[in-house]
C-alpha cells in the first residue's frame, strides 16, 4: 500500500520534471524559462523526494531526505530569483509578442 502511494508521488514528480524541462526548451526568453524552472522543477523534486521518503519508511535516511526537500524548497527559488535579478540589472530585454500578431 505504501509502495503504491510512493509510486504515485514519484510519477507525479516525474511529470512535473518533464514539464519544467519542456518549458526550458520551448519558452521564448530567459524570464519565461526562469518561470518554468523556478516553480515546476521545485515541485517535481519535492514530489519525488516525498515519494522516496515514504518508500524508505521511518528511518534516519528518510529524515535526511526530508532535509534535502527543505533545502531544495528554499534554495531553488532563491537561486532562480538571484539569476533573474542579475539579468534584469544587466539590462536583458523582456520578450514581447510581435505587433502584427496580437494575442
Amino acid at each position: 500500500m505504501i509502495a503504491v502511494i510512493a509510486a504515485i508521488f514519484l510519477f507525479g514528480g516525474a511529470v512535473f520534471l518533464l514539464v519544467s524541462c519542456v518549458g526550458l526548451l520551448r519558452l521564448p526568453d530567459f524570464y519565461t524559462r526562469a518561470h518554468a524552472v523556478g516553480k515546476a522543477e521545485t515541485l517535481g523534486s519535492m514530489l519525488v523526494l516525498i515519494g522516496l521518503a515514504l518508500y524508505n519508511g521511518l528511518t534516519l535516511s528518510s529524515a535526511k531526505l526530508l532535509l534535502i526537500l527543505v533545502i531544495i524548497a528554499v534554495t531553488n527559488p532563491t537561486a532562480t530569483h538571484a539569476l533573474t535579478r542579475a539579468a534584469m540589472r544587466s539590462g536583458l530585454k523582456i520578450w514581447r509578442a510581435k505587433e502584427s500578431n496580437p494575442a
Partner: protein, 89 residues
C-alpha cells in the same frame, strides 16, 4: 519497485540531455546558467535514486545533501558575477 526506480533514474538522465541543449545553445549567459542549475537539481534526485538501487541510501543521501548546497552556492556566485557585466545580455 527497483525497476521503477531504474526507469525513473533513466528518465531524469534523459532530461539532462534536454537541459544540456539549452546550456550549449542558450542565447544569453543566464540561459546557460539556469540550464546548468536544472541539471544540478536533477543530479540530486539521480544520486538519491542510485542510492536506492544499490541499497546504500544512508551514504548517497549525504552526497546528495552536499551536492545540493554546492549547487546553490555555485548558482548564486555566478549570478553575482554576471550582474552588470557588459555584453552578456
Amino acid at each position: 519497485m527497483s525497476t521503477f526506480f531504474l526507469a525513473l533514474a533513466v528518465f531524469i538522465t534523459l532530461l539532462f540531455a534536454a537541459s544540456l541543449y539549452r546550456v550549449l545553445r542558450g542565447p544569453t549567459v543566464f540561459d546557460r546558467t539556469i540550464g546548468a542549475g536544472l541539471i544540478g537539481t536533477n543530479a540530486i534526485l539521480v544520486l538519491v535514486l542510485i542510492g536506492f538501487l544499490y541499497e546504500r541510501v544512508d551514504m548517497f543521501v549525504d552526497l546528495a545533501l552536499a551536492y545540493g548546497m554546492l549547487n546553490f552556492i555555485g548558482i548564486v556566485a555566478l549570478a553575482k558575477y554576471f550582474e552588470r557585466k557588459e555584453g552578456n545580455a
